[in-house]
């Protein structure tokens, strides 16, 4: 098992060196980082619109992971024995775009509906139900 967070100095440079080249692992690392940044936004922002935008960031991170894996799997089709092993990842990413669009549309509609009632988009104020 590769360690995480606990990396020696030598390993760190090696690891960073690997990450800074265009590789599958570095793409996944980027995806993980973007995912984390998106999650950070969801956790930290009080503006609901920004929370929704942060969710979009997370979805983009997922898409990145999908496409990176797709590129690897297009060459592994004879191992996994799947038709369209690579294309299916890209199609999934494409579907995610559609889902994100639908979610954003509905989300914004709900935000507007709430804003019409209460005139606020602050999550601290959208908390009449609790306990």
């Amino acid at each position: 098992m590769h360690g995480w967070l606990l990396l020696g100095a030598d390993e760190l440079s090696h690891w960073l060196g690997n990450l800074l080249t265009f590789r599958l692992a570095s793409c996944l690392a980027l995806a993980g980082a973007l995912f984390a940044i998106g999650a950070w936004g969801v956790l930290a922002r009080r503006n609901v619109l920004l929370v929704l935008i942060s969710v979009e960031l997370m979805l983009n991170a997922v898409m990145l992971a999908f496409v990176a894996f797709a590129r690897a799997h297009v060459n592994l089709a004879h191992v996994t024995g799947r038709p369209y092993a690579g294309e299916s990842g890209q199609i999934f990413a494409l579907s995610i775009i559609a889902l994100a669009a639908a979610e954003a549309a509905v989300g914004l509609a709900i935000v507007i509906a709430y804003f019409r009632n209460k005139g606020s988009v602050d999550t601290r104020e959208i908390s009449s139900m609790r306990g």
Partner: protein, 755 residues
């Protein structure tokens, strides 16, 4: 006779010749308990709306129809058996009715069906219960006429009949136990019928508690029997559920062929050949096992000896006796059948002492007189309290295996008989006298059962039911006439005002005292005679002692009975002039049952043959010694005791009938007797006191400390505290919720990453 034929020819055939409708009656056995149950339902559900007349009529119909059907079933069964070797006696042919209506409990190897079984024993008991019960129902219509909870009373009474019939007719121990608890419940309800009176409610509670102690033993006894034999059924099931195509299947016993035995080569070979072979039916019941054990041990002397529990293998060569109770090997790994059976019987007898008010659990019965007098007559004299005797007789085949168990039963019975008789000598409450008398007579019944002649006990149950019910109902009539006065010191001279009550009660008293040729004389004389015969046959000196106690108790019985008569009916009235004028004879609805019961008390013994037939009819078991009935010495002693007691009482209470203070003697014995030998006070001091202390300690430890402090306040408080914390997390803010999701995800992922 031809006239009788002409009359009966109008009756339908199934009444005229019930024997021809044997199968029909077997399948409709359930009607006997059903009638009173329906009465209970009607009276119980409509107790608010039903009128008094209708309520009494429904109850009496429920009881009367049950009696009618019981007679029909009994006569249907009374005939030569079609199946050979059903365990019935050739002298008294009887085809037991048996019907299984439904599979009731099936848990693992434990199987118990809902079936009813009417053989000689349960048949006689059913007739007594329904017959006496009906008379008491009728009587109650008069006695309870002014009570406001009329329908409730009759509902309880019918429910009692239902439970008692279930107890008697059930074909397995579990059903018997259900009935046993049912009658206990009804007894509790009826003792505390006037529950507004705290003392009466307490008496009900007392009866309940004493019975629970006994029930524990009873249950343990049932478990033990199940552990040994793997069944709780009395008899093997009929071939098909829901029908009674065949009566209970019996063992097939192959007696040894004498010629083969004689022709055997060696001594061991001869011993092997001379033993009988027993073949059990497919689903053997307890009776089958008992019979098989008897047959297998018949040649080995009186006691059954030590049969090892792994008898299976040994029995395989000689028959297919199967003692494969699942628990047998676990519970009695090194024991013997004899030991296990003896243990079970002792435990069962503990239950019997509770229900039948024997020493040391007798104390509830005198207090039970708090209930209405007809209830005392029915439940606490004629039927329920004899359930213990019935149960001992039902399982008599097991009790008979151990002379030690029988001796225990006998000692307890005789001690109870003499103790209660002594207590009864000085009681002033008319019902209390009769209550102690009942306890005493129950002691006689157990003494009779202890001789091994179980039918004798039932014979006494039957005759006792007649005369004790009569006496109680008579006492009730007196109380009714005296307007709820129970103290005999305030009575006197009633024989002119209540002649019917006086004459019927006189007959009942004669029967109770054992005046020759009355019903009580037959049964009591036979019990004592059998004890004497047993003593003579060398079963140990204790039997001589028991016989002596029995004779003394008989003397006391005669004395207190006629003391009661003297104080109540002779001399001058001590009720006071104002009250004296209102004394009246009871209405016919009450006196007619009295007269019927009086007839039975007088001729009941004779009617059942010379007093010898009923016991043998009820129980095919015979003592293994020569009973030598009609023993001259016994005859002389019992007659002497009875007449002596009567004479002394007459001398003291009828001659001195003018005395205003009827009890001049205040000696030591008198005080002892009046205070019931301080037994109850002893109970209060020791048992109850210890219980109070223990419960106080437990209350502090368990209730206050464990439950209240730790569980309710401690655990509950902890839960509330945690819930409060969780509620604070539930802030209603989306970001916090998302943080919760992230934390959960972290936990899951971390654990998965670590392996």
């Amino acid at each position: 006779m031809q006239l009788l034929d002409w009359f009966t020819s109008f009756l339908p055939e199934w009444i005229r010749e019930p024997g021809r409708f044997y199968a029909y009656y077997a399948e409709t056995l359930y009607l006997i308990p059903l009638f009173p149950f329906v009465g209970f339902l009607i009276n119980g559900l409509c107790r608010k709306s039903i009128s008094r007349e209708a309520s009494g009529l429904v109850a009496c119909l429920g009881s009367g129809l049950a009696c009618f059907w019981a007679f029909l079933c009994f006569f249907a069964a009374n005939g030569p058996s079609e199946v050979a070797g059903t365990g019935t006696d050739v002298e008294f042919p009887f085809r037991a009715l048996h019907a299984v209506y439904a599979n009731w409990i099936e848990v693992g190897s434990f199987q118990c069906a809902f079936g009813l079984y009417l053989d000689q024993l349960s048949g006689v008991m059913t007739l007594v219960i329904t017959g006496v019960g009906t008379l008491i129902h009728i009587y109650s219509m008069g006695y309870m006429g002014h009570d406001k909870a009329y329908a409730r009373y009759f509902a309880y009474l019918n429910l009692f009949l239902f439970a008692m019939l279930l107890l008697v007719l059930g074909d397995n121990l579990i059903l018997l136990f259900v009935g046993w608890e049912g009658v206990g419940l009804c007894s509790y309800l009826l003792i505390g019928f006037w529950y507004e009176d705290a003392a009466k409610a307490a008496a009900g509670m007392k009866a309940f508690v004493f019975n629970r102690v006994g029930d524990l033993g009873f249950l343990l006894g049932i478990f033990t029997l199940f552990a040994v034999f793997g069944t709780v059924n009395f008899v093997s099931a009929p071939v098909k559920v829901g029908t009674s195509q065949y009566p209970a299947q019996a063992n097939r016993i192959e007696r040894p062929d004498p010629e083969a035995v004689l022709g055997a080569a060696s001594e061991s070979e001869r011993a092997r050949l001379s033993e009988p072979k027993v073949f059990l039916p497919a689903e053997p019941g307890l009776f089958n096992y008992a019979e098989a054990l008897r047959a297998l041990t018949a040649g080995k002397g009186a006691a059954i000896g030590n049969i090892p529990l792994d008898y299976n293998a040994a029995a395989a060569g000689r028959g297919n006796l199967d003692l494969s109770g699942n628990l047998a090997r676990d519970v009695f790994p090194n024991g013997t059948v004899a030991f296990a059976v003896a243990l079970a019987c002792l435990l069962l007898f503990v239950g019997a002492t509770g229900k039948s008010a024997q020493l040391p659990l007798y104390a509830w019965l005198p207090d039970a007189m708090a209930g209405p007098t007809p209830v005392s007559a029915l439940i606490h004299a004629a039927t329920m309290v004899t359930a213990g005797v019935y149960m001992v007789t039902r399982l008599g085949a097991f009790f008979a295996f151990s002379e030690s168990v029988l001796a225990v039963v006998g000692v307890v019975g005789a001690l109870t008989a003499i103790f209660a008789a002594l207590c009864g000598l000085t009681q002033t409450d008319i019902k209390k006298v009769l209550a102690y008398s009942t306890v005493s007579q129950l002691g006689y019944m157990f003494l009779g059962a202890a001789t091994g002649a179980f039918g004798l006990a039932i014979f006494h149950v039957v005759t006792h039911a007649f005369f004790k019910a009569l006496l109680f109902l008579g006492a009730g009539s007196v109380i009714h006439g005296m307007h709820e006065e129970q103290d005999m010191r305030k009575m006197g001279g009633l024989r002119r005002k209540m002649p019917i009550t006086f004459w019927t009660m006189l007959l009942g008293s004669c029967a109770l005292s054992g005046v020759p040729f009355t019903a009580g004389w037959y049964s009591k004389d036979e019990i004592l005679g059998t004890v004497l015969a047993k003593a003579e046959s060398g079963y140990g000196g204790v039997w001589w002692l028991l016989y002596g106690l029995g004779i003394v108790a008989a003397f006391c019985t005669a004395f207190y009975t006629f003391r009661l008569m003297g104080l109540t009916f002779f001399g001058s009235c001590r009720a006071g002039a104002e009250k004296e004028g209102r004394i009246h004879e009871s209405p016919p609805v009450m006196t007619v049952p009295l007269m019927i019961l009086a007839v039975f008390s007088l001729v009941g013994g004779v009617w059942f043959g010379s007093g010898a037939e009923l016991p043998h009819f009820v129980s095919p078991l015979r003592p293994s010694y020569d009973t030598h009935l009609g023993h001259a010495l016994n005859l002389a002693l019992t007659t002497l005791a009875a007449l002596g007691g009567i004479g002394l009482a007459l001398l003291l209470y009828v001659q001195g009938g003018k005395l205003t203070k009827p009890e001049p003697e205040q000696g030591l014995f008198y005080k002892l007797s009046l205070d019931k030998f301080y037994v109850e006070r002893f109970y209060d001091q020791t048992v109850t006191g210890a219980f109070r202390l223990g419960s106080e300690v437990l209350h502090l430890l368990v209730d206050v400390l464990l439950i209240d402090t730790l569980l309710v306040y401690g655990l509950g408080g902890l839960v509330r505290w945690i819930a409060g914390l969780l509620r604070r997390v539930q802030t209603g803010v989306v970001n916090v919720y998302a943080a919760g999701i992230v934390c959960g995800a972290l936990l899951v992922l971390y654990k998965l990453l670590k392996g």
